[in-house]
């Protein structure tokens, strides 16, 4: 089976969909001839043609607005916002238009667009190339928000997103495009080679939206994570020496509430890990859901480990980034409660 990094897996998904569905087209800043600043659309224009994968003006609102219009016509546009930090000029289009078109037109019109956007820190990108804005999308009813953590899921989730008839935002953790990252920034870089999830089948397959993956089974504590933090969580669990169950949520909306509840009812403890700043983050919603549905099973307060409530500081990237050490501390607090 071919071994791919996440960039190649995403590229392969786009290639498959362009080849198989004439209604799929790709556009965004620098995605055409150049193939995208992270190379995710590399070669697609040359292979599939100028009108299937093309550059746009620098206007994120315009990119999303035209994608909605194309979607309403019957196409399945896949657009790239170069960095998630730059999606905000398109926010009105996402919130007021894409997310509500189906509802307000009583199903006459809908917007089956897919928005791909690299997010997250750990690349010394400073405050405008590092943010994790998932919670501002998960709060919007009508938007689906998906976060892959490995090449296999990236391809399967992207194909499922493109085929989905509702707007889907795929937040691509750019820190793990080229290799898994466990938060130990001072250790040698790893590539995806040898990782079981880097084996990516040819052809179309789907990872369904709304299905979490159990990355590691355990009895004593549940860890909820997504994106880069899945790898940080694995490292933290090993270092803490606890028998933790790790769920990779993969899809935040729709959310696999059954998998979360089943795990926490089994373990009785829950730690939530995300890179975004803590206050108002997606961890708050997860914490509330677990408390509401698992209260009688909880043996310890739910812990949240997250980025600090500051902008992402360039010099203090690794002080901001919630690495394994902070997860270990939270796991121990929960276990010793």
């Amino acid at each position: 089976m071919p071994v791919m990094n996440m960039v190649q897996a995403l590229n392969n998904a786009l290639d498959e969909k362009l080849g198989g569905d004439p209604n799929v087209l790709i556009f965004g800043e620098d995605v055409g001839y150049f193939g995208g600043v992270f190379r995710v659309t590399d070669g697609l224009q040359a292979k599939h043609g100028l009108t299937r994968c093309f550059d746009t003006p620098i206007a994120e609102g315009g990119i999303i607005a035209t994608a909605i219009g194309m979607g309403a016509y019957g196409l399945r546009p896949v657009v790239e916002i170069q960095f998630a930090d730059y999606i905000l000029p398109a926010f009105d289009q996402l919130v007021s238009e894409a997310a509500r078109l189906r509802y307000r037109s009583n199903g006459e019109f809908w917007a089956p667009l897919t928005v791909r956007t690299p997010y997250g820190g750990g690349i010394f990108g400073g405050q405008t190339h590092s943010q994790s804005p998932e919670a501002i999308f998960t709060h919007v009813v009508g938007l689906k928000t998906v976060v892959p953590s490995n090449p296999y899921d990236a391809k399967g989730l992207l194909i499922a997103a493109i085929e989905d008839d509702d707007p889907v935002i795929i937040l691509e953790p750019k820190r793990i495009y080229n290799g898994p990252f466990d938060g130990h920034h001072d250790r040698p870089l790893k590539t995806w080679a040898g990782h079981p999830k880097a084996e990516v089948p040819e052809g179309l397959y789907r990872v369904p939206l709304g299905k979490a993956a159990v990355v590691r089974e355990g009895r004593d504590i549940t860890v909820l994570a997504y994106g880069t933090m899945v790898h940080v969580a694995l490292a933290g669990i090993e270092e803490a020496g606890v028998d933790a169950e790790l769920l990779d949520l993969r899809s935040l909306v729709p959310l696999d509430i059954e998998a979360i509840v089943a795990s926490v009812r089994k373990t009785g403890r829950c730690v939530i890990l995300h890179e975004a700043s803590r206050f108002g983050g997606f961890g708050g919603e997860l914490s509330a859901l677990v408390q509401e549905r698992c209260f009688d099973h909880l043996k310890a307060p739910i812990e949240r480990v997250a980025g600090w409530d500051t902008p992402y500081p360039h010099a203090f990237e690794w002080d901001y980034f919630p690495g394994p050490a902070r997860l270990v501390a939270a796991l121990r607090r929960a276990m010793e409660y």
Binding site: G32, D55, I58, G126, D309, H314
Partner: protein, 409 residues
């Protein structure tokens, strides 16, 4: 219906890609001195041809010609040349510092130095520039300390922005230089608001703002010009058309259909198109717009026509998306060479002095980089960790106070 042609989707493409010969054949450039100069207080409807001409002063023989010749003192020309050369020497040295792993990122303004330098020298100390990431020449022209730039680039203990920003996203209020963000076009409206505030307060200060041609697609660009026009804000709105937005040629921003200066027409403000590699032309057009603004006649849009001779940043290789020798073929030449040629033509400069100045500036940059390295390159030295939690608000709230304690600082 049967007689109707099938619709086709048009996607513009640049005239040349890697492997092709650079092609500037479609570019129609007026000669130096050819474009007329309207009176500063002329009514906007009388100058609607300006966006389709080009203000050029230096001719091919390096002489200043025509109605836009600003007749500058030789001292200004020398200061301009020095600041442009310093900008280039600094860019080259710090770009190398990135390659050596001393910092995370860098962006050069190579080929565009005349723009920020001429405008910085032309405007007053109390005016405010709303910069892009490619106008460090503004600070060079105002003798901003090189060591502070280096420290910012290294995010070290001497960083005047305390490690908060990506390298080169400076802020220097005392030098008339507003805080830069990585977002595009989001400060164009700030410049208009700042200028409106100056008018509201009855002051005499004006603002100048930059975007690249690619950013004219952003809503923020159009919103800002609308406000500038409606309120006759004393602001100079500049579009640096350097032909490339990362890998996208200017046609992706609409350059095949009209000029960027012509965007002004729809908003009813003057639109000037200027040879951005001509120090004298940039000066003269800026002076015209500044005088007009100070006369309460409102905003001017200036397209500065230039070429981004370097890559977008340290993160891209321009030879992957455009002919590698395209910069060398740029019909409007190199701004430093052209001002140097002009000074030589005036009898005020020669190759020997130029080489000596180049060497002295390289020494100055080297000394600043060494001083910055002595404090520490990226990661080797940091501002005080607790400062990470400051300035989220003026007064920290309980969240950051608790989190700072959790970190133990």
């Amino acid at each position: 219906m049967d007689n109707q042609p099938r619709l086709t989707l048009h996607i513009p493409e640049p005239p040349a890609r890697p492997g092709d010969h650079p092609d500037f054949g479609g570019m129609k450039l007026p000669k130096a001195g050819e474009t007329a100069r309207p009176d500063v207080d002329a009514a906007e409807p009388t100058m609607r041809d300006m966006p389709f001409g080009m203000i050029r002063v230096l001719d091919d023989g390096h002489h200043a010609v025509g109605p836009w010749d600003p007749h500058l003192d030789v001292d200004i020309l020398h200061r301009g040349l020095r600041a442009m050369m310093l900008t280039r020497a600094f860019d080259d040295r710090l770009f190398r510092a990135h390659r050596q792993g001393k910092t995370s990122f860098y962006m050069k303004s190579t080929g565009e130095e005349a723009i920020a330098v001429a405008q910085s020298l032309m405007l007053g100390a109390r005016d405010m520039c709303f910069p892009t990431y490619r106008v460090v020449g503004w600070l060079m022209a105002r003798n901003y300390p090189l060591l502070d730039l280096v420290n910012q680039i290294f995010s070290n203990a001497g960083d005047p922005l305390r490690g908060r920003q990506l390298p080169i996203l400076y802020s220097a209020r005392d030098y008339g230089f507003y805080s830069i963000s990585g977002n595009l076009g989001s400060r164009f409206g700030h410049a208009v608001g700042w200028a409106m505030a100056s008018a509201y307060k009855g002051d005499d200060r004006i603002a100048l703002a930059y975007v690249g041609e690619g950013t004219t697609a952003e809503g923020g660009f159009h919103e800002a010009i609308t406000f500038a026009s409606v309120y006759r804000a004393p602001v100079i709105l500049c579009v640096t058309n350097n032909q490339w937005a990362i890998s996208s040629f200017s046609g992706i921003a609409g350059a095949n259909e009209t000029t960027f200066a012509a965007k002004a027409l729809a908003y009813g403000i003057p639109g000037l198109r200027v040879d951005g590699n001509d120090f004298l032309a940039v000066w003269a057009a800026t002076q015209w717009a500044a005088e007009r603004a100070r006369l309460n006649l409102g905003a001017t849009l200036i397209e500065l026509f230039t070429y981004r001779a370097s890559g977008h940043s340290t993160a891209d290789d321009p030879a992957k998306y455009r002919p590698a020798d395209e910069a060398l073929q740029w019909p409007l030449g190199d701004p430093i060479e052209r001002l140097k040629g002009h000074l030589i033509a005036l009898g005020e400069w020669d190759d020997e002095r130029h080489a000596a100045l180049q060497s002295a500036l390289e020494d100055e940059v080297r000394a600043a980089v060494r001083a910055g390295e002595a404090i520490g390159t990226l990661g080797k030295s940091k501002p005080e960790l607790a400062s990470m939690f400051e300035d989220v608000f003026k007064q920290p709230d309980w969240r950051v106070i608790e989190q700072r304690r959790e970190m133990g600082v």
